[in-house]
């Protein structure tokens, strides 16, 4: 199944709601204030946020004034390409370390879906014949190490785990050591969930980053922030704080299989210039795919029927 089909399927409810609503709303309508207000509402309820919504609506209005949007029927295609443009360029691949093990550090707030996303990423990499070791550096939450260990066994990847309350940076170093000496393709480092306002925990994350770089030059090559797809405007602050402390290179947006639309990624891309790399679209380890702006935008607003 292609990414687009998959995303479309998992966003089905979303798409039904949003695309269905928006199409029914704009069909054959003439452009007037009432229409703009309703478009604005749709964007706001998708967590696009007041600022990005105001901007999008303002540029749509300008396009209408310039004759690019003549009636409600033109609105959906216009919005779809405008949103896609905002989310481009796609950076759907991993930044590989040409000279050795590629290290991917996974971070995020509590309950955002880090461990599950790692399991999915493992499966994704295994399907591409990459050898993988996962490092369980969440030594804080009870049984987090066990949770990742179970996944590692299921997915046939190597595993380095710390004991409870062990120093996560030490576990990270051991894992880097093990990965480098075994010459595996990818090391994925799981970290404890932390709220971005907890300075000591954010410092700990910086330390893990530094320690990895000591053993494997240039590591971590990717630091991916797992953002809960249901997150609201706080997602922006989260991302900003994590980027400051851990040099985040991209996002994994999880839990996009419900009715949430993940609109906050628009603001994140706008203000922080961080790309979404992967999206999690379901419960099973297969429900994971690289992110493409066009596909995402199409899934949100519905396909162009005239095409």
């Amino acid at each position: 199944m292609s990414f687009f089909q998959k995303l479309k399927q998992s966003l089905a409810k979303t798409t039904q709601v949003l695309a269905g609503r928006i199409k029914a709303l704009v069909k054959g309508r003439k452009i007037d204030d009432a229409l703009w207000e309703e478009v604005e509402e749709i964007l706001l309820t998708s967590d696009v946020g007041p600022d990005a919504t105001t901007e999008l609506v303002a540029s749509a209005r300008l396009a209408a004034k310039n004759g690019e949007i003549l009636s409600g029927d033109d609105l959906v295609p216009w919005l779809r390409s405008a949103v896609a443009a905002r989310l481009r360029p796609d950076e759907a691949d991993i930044r590989w370390n040409a000279g050795g093990t590629t290290v991917i550090l996974i971070a995020g707030v509590n309950g955002s879906g880090k461990t599950t996303s790692i399991a999915k990423l493992c499966k994704f990499l295994r399907a591409r014949n990459k050898t993988v070791i996962v490092a369980a550096c969440d030594t804080f939450r009870a049984a987090a190490v066990d949770q990742l260990g179970i996944w590692a066994k299921r997915l046939d990847v190597g595993f380095v785990g710390g004991s409870n309350n062990a120093d996560p940076a030490a576990v990270a170093f051991d894992a880097a050591e093990s990965a480098a000496s075994k010459g595996v393709d990818v090391l994925i480092v799981d970290t404890a969930g932390r709220l971005h306002t907890q300075k000591n925990l954010m410092d700990e994350l910086s330390k893990i980053t530094r320690v990895l770089g000591k053993r494997i030059p240039g590591a971590p090559h990717e630091t991916l922030l797992v953002l809960d797809g249901t997150a609201g405007q706080n997602g922006l602050q989260q991302t900003r704080a994590f980027r400051e402390h851990a040099n985040v290179t991209g996002l994994i947006v999880s839990k996009l299989d419900g009715t949430a639309k993940g609109g906050v990624v628009l603001s994140i891309k706008d203000q922080l210039k961080l790309p979404v790399k992967f999206v999690g679209t379901g419960e099973s380890a297969d429900d994971f795919a690289p992110f493409y702006a066009d596909a995402f935008s199409s899934a949100l607003f519905g396909e162009d029927e005239t095409r």
């Binding site: 509590n110 066990d146 949770q147 179970i150 907890q198 609201g232 009715t259």
Partner: protein, 479 residues
Amino acid sequence: MFESLAQRLQSVFSRLGRRTALTESDVDEALREIRTALLTADVHLSVVKKLTADIKARAVGEKVIESVRPDQQVAKIVYDELVRLLGGQPGTISPPNDGGIPIRWSASGPTVILMAGLQGSGKTTTCAKLARYLKSKGHRPLLVAADMQRPAAVEQLKVLGASLEIPVHWEESGRPPKICERAVAKATADGNDVVILDTAGRLHVDRELMDEVRDIAARTKPHEVLLVLDSMTGQDAVNSAKVFDESLPLTGVVLTKLDGDTRGGAALSVLSVTGKPVRFVGTGEKTEALEPFHPDRMASRILGMGDVVSLVERAQEAMKQEEVEKAAEKLFAGSFTMDDMLQQFEQVERMGPLKDWLGMIPGMAPALEGQEVDEKGIKRAKAVIQSMTAEERRKPDVLDAGRRRRIARGSGTSLDEVNRLIKGYKQMKLMMKQLRSDGGMMGKMADRRMRKMKEEQIREMRRQGVKLTEMDWAPEGEP
């Protein structure tokens, strides 16, 4: 990043200038700001619309009260409406946590509490917190591991239960409804008066899992069904809450992860959609971090107005009144030593992360946005004092360059830091000495000035709708 609504309104009304009554256009302009503020706080659009309509109805034509700025007046109206929506009584302040447990108890047999929610909302942690909370109030809870979905979820609850010395019912395999049913029977037999069911996280659109949790409820007839909701959730909170409410006999909501900087507008959305009150809020990683919910505090938070009451409560818990008085006495008597200073630092530390409680001060949250707060500063200052000998702490005058260098090495700080601390200490003593040498005159003046300041602050807070007279935290001897 976040500007408090109060600030936004202030700028609107300073543009509009002074009026005697609020006209419709004044209010409209203010409403735009209110709308943006609420949306930024993740309040659902439908609730925002209703709220702004209510606010408009109340505000238009309202006379501007002498001595109150119109922006403050509008802010007060918004605040009142929020408190009302959140289930509180505007104008009153919720009492400090007094040990009342907001739980509906079973008339006979164990009280069953079912916890449900989306994945990652914090159910397992909240179950452990709730169990600990109830145990501390003299109850005998039984935790039930009914999440057979997530790998190691059972293990997590077992570990938490063991660390809290609370029994956990778990089974190697089996269907959650059966497990829960057996657990309730076990609780009855073992004499546990509360059973807390930790169910798997599930999406509201997952019909199979929603049927399962409905089955659990049907078999265990819970007295409380609490929806665990991540306070960082956006507009989608209403969709999931609605489905949970339709599928389960929901009785309330627990709002988690409020120790971050989220405004938590989702609370408002869920409440207005389901009509179910927020019972508890989770405010930290530790198992103690669970508090009963206070509508007025939540309203302040959503509006970015700070949370004075929680701040005072925290200070009260951390600072022992006698210790504070003793330190003040010593200061005035001139016998304030480095040891006393150390004690002061420790009290400040007990209040938790600096940034947390600074953020509770009205108007501080926006100023702190993106700011680094040096949490380690106090720790380092403590280390400096702790590296001093008993004599040095009593008589800091003996601290010559050699001793200072030793202290810097011993505490892992720099000579500069040591010097700064000693300088701070000396300045404080000097100031007190001057106050004393003025025959008590200056002291009395300083005292009076502080009292005056306090009165002004109180008046200002009253304007914002906070009734301080109902609070018992003013130091003794205050008018």
